[in-house]
Symmetry: C3
Subunit: 256 residues, 3 copies
């Protein structure tokens, strides 16, 4: 039972198909991560080990963390940048093997930091799916200049193609910072018209919006609703986001 149970607004439980929270682990200690999940694990659906962080971490500790997250019914997976590092070194096949061997059941296919032909990316999505992975893909470039050259129609087309190729969800890139990238301007404000266009042209339940900053989370919850899929949530903000979703923080109180 929760504290002040009679004040808790309903929301879907895990495993959810919508209203997902994807949190970012950028190097939490095992005990610290476990302590956090004991209090907030109910509100994490997906846990991304950020970019190439786990390559500098001991395999044993990472596997211990994978098991720990799974024990809270959380789906851990390695960041897309790690896939791209393998790709840039022609080691994708080893990448899939090691991911499976470590216990990952979900992986991310992205091309945010590397040049990859569209067909190549779609092939990787299909291949990963064939190998038994749940596939999440990501659309957008990490370099703001390159990213700004992708038209909104191209984004829509890429997302549709990737879903068709086998992605269970597609992430809209915003990095850890959330500024001057994708749908966010230099101050981190959402470009409302672009969001509208994406919402109109895409199946909402297939999209995960990276929204690392509080104002971005509030924006999406007020615009799309409690059950919007949000990503790159700092591990410090998992509880805060859940209260924003449920109208338990000033910003959304009485507005949900």
């Amino acid at each position: 039972m929760k504290s002040f149970n009679f004040l808790l607004p309903n929301r879907s439980d895990k495993p959810r198909n919508n209203g997902l929270t994807m949190a970012l682990d950028k190097g939490l200690g095992y005990e610290t991560g476990k302590s956090l999940m004991e209090i907030a694990g109910d509100y994490v659906d997906l846990l991304k080990f950020g970019w190439g962080t786990i390559v500098v971490h001991d395999r044993d500790i990472v596997m211990k963390k994978i098991k720990m997250y799974k024990s809270f019914d959380i789906i851990p997976y390695p960041g897309g940048t790690l896939f791209e590092i393998a790709y840039s070194q022609n080691k994708v096949s080893n990448y899939f093997k090691e991911a499976a061997s470590m216990g990952f059941e979900t992986i991310e296919i992205s091309d945010g930091s590397t040049d990859m032909k569209t067909e190549e990316k779609l092939d990787f999505i299909a291949t990963a799916k064939d190998k038994g992975f749940n596939v999440i893909s990501e659309v957008g470039k990490k370099d703001p200049e390159k990213d700004s050259k992708i038209s909104i129609d191209e984004r829509v087309e890429s997302i549709k193609d990737e879903i068709k190729a086998g992605s269970s969800k597609v992430i809209i890139e915003a990095r850890e910072g959330g500024k001057n990238i994708g749908i966010f301007d230099k101050s981190g404000n959402a470009k409302d018209e672009e969001v509208n266009y994406l919402l109109k042209n895409l199946p909402n339940e297939k999209i995960i919006w990276e929204a690392p900053n509080k104002d971005q989370q509030i924006y999406f919850v007020l615009k799309v609703g409690s059950e919007v899929n949000l990503g790159n949530i700092s591990s410090n903000d998992i509880t805060s986001l859940e209260t924003i979703r449920r109208g338990l923080r000033g910003d959304t109180l009485g507005k949900i």
Copy 2:
């Protein structure tokens, strides 16, 4: 004994009536919170469970945290927004019951996110006090536009009335961010004239200034002195604030 004990400037010990630090817990894991209090617990007087966070947390874990904080002679209490959620659902009486039953001895009465008549708020303060709670109240609106409509004289009057009604301390709202709200401008700088006016017209020991950012903490310590009451201190900054209070950080070294 402290490290480098001969360099430690004196300051009042707990339980203090002045120089209080109110820290913000926005969802710390039990073990992580305990580990932090073991090193910094001496410098936390009040611990606010932020807004509605505990409603999404297991009652058992929250009660374990309440006990843990008390074991360090810290007064834990639920954020005012939680009271307002109960108020907006006509469940204030259940709210008081659950708070007492969980072990809270202090509660906060605020109207930052809800419309509440002045008399109603003062009544809640008196009622809570009658029920045996130590009452802290908060003045200010969480919405910057609404907040900006409160004149400085109205603020002074509200604070005086709330003290008279039974508040042991009154908090000046600044939220977790500390920008564009209450006495802080858009950049988070204190409006010096307003602060002067409040200091001149109110009993200093009754006020808790929310000052989440380092520069705000330095401002108040240099202006009012080491024994100013400060609130919404991030759990990461508890030690830093104590060193600012005692002239052990560059910003206040030799100035206290």
Copy 3:
């Protein structure tokens, strides 16, 4: 063995003379710090207990933390501000005694918050070395106005003199914030010409650049290389910096 070992680019191991990471501990709980070092301790060479933080902490806990850091082959040392506090109270001799007695083998000599004659500072460096300490010194003032009055040539001369006097490394001050100080402008961008001048006139392996923000870390890694010495790294960013050094994050992928 690391995760995805076949993707890990080489870099020097500890104990390193170059490519040092100096992390900042501003009051971590013992268990939290230990949990972090278990996963990221390989990437911390020096651990600075920030400014006067340990003066407000129990001597037993601090000594436990010193031992813990050493067990991970990390060199813990007290921040220069603590030395300056002792200096301003004429207690330098007690300071050296207590530092040694607590287990510190490295100390920092700085004059960022106090006025100290050049000769005096150099004397302290020599004295500390004589007493058996490994000495790190720091150049720069914590007050931006005072700091801006130090010419680039004066900085170069000070650093050379301090190395001659016995400093094993000299830190370029940037504080915890990294803005409007030393080589960083108001937005935290490095002043490229000044950095060039320092790089040209000083032995690179003797310098530790304080670079608390991610963009500053990327700047130095891209400019100087993976094996640049960087300081004041937030404990949350230790893993991130290591991935930046090794080209495992989007910003440096394929550029190292």
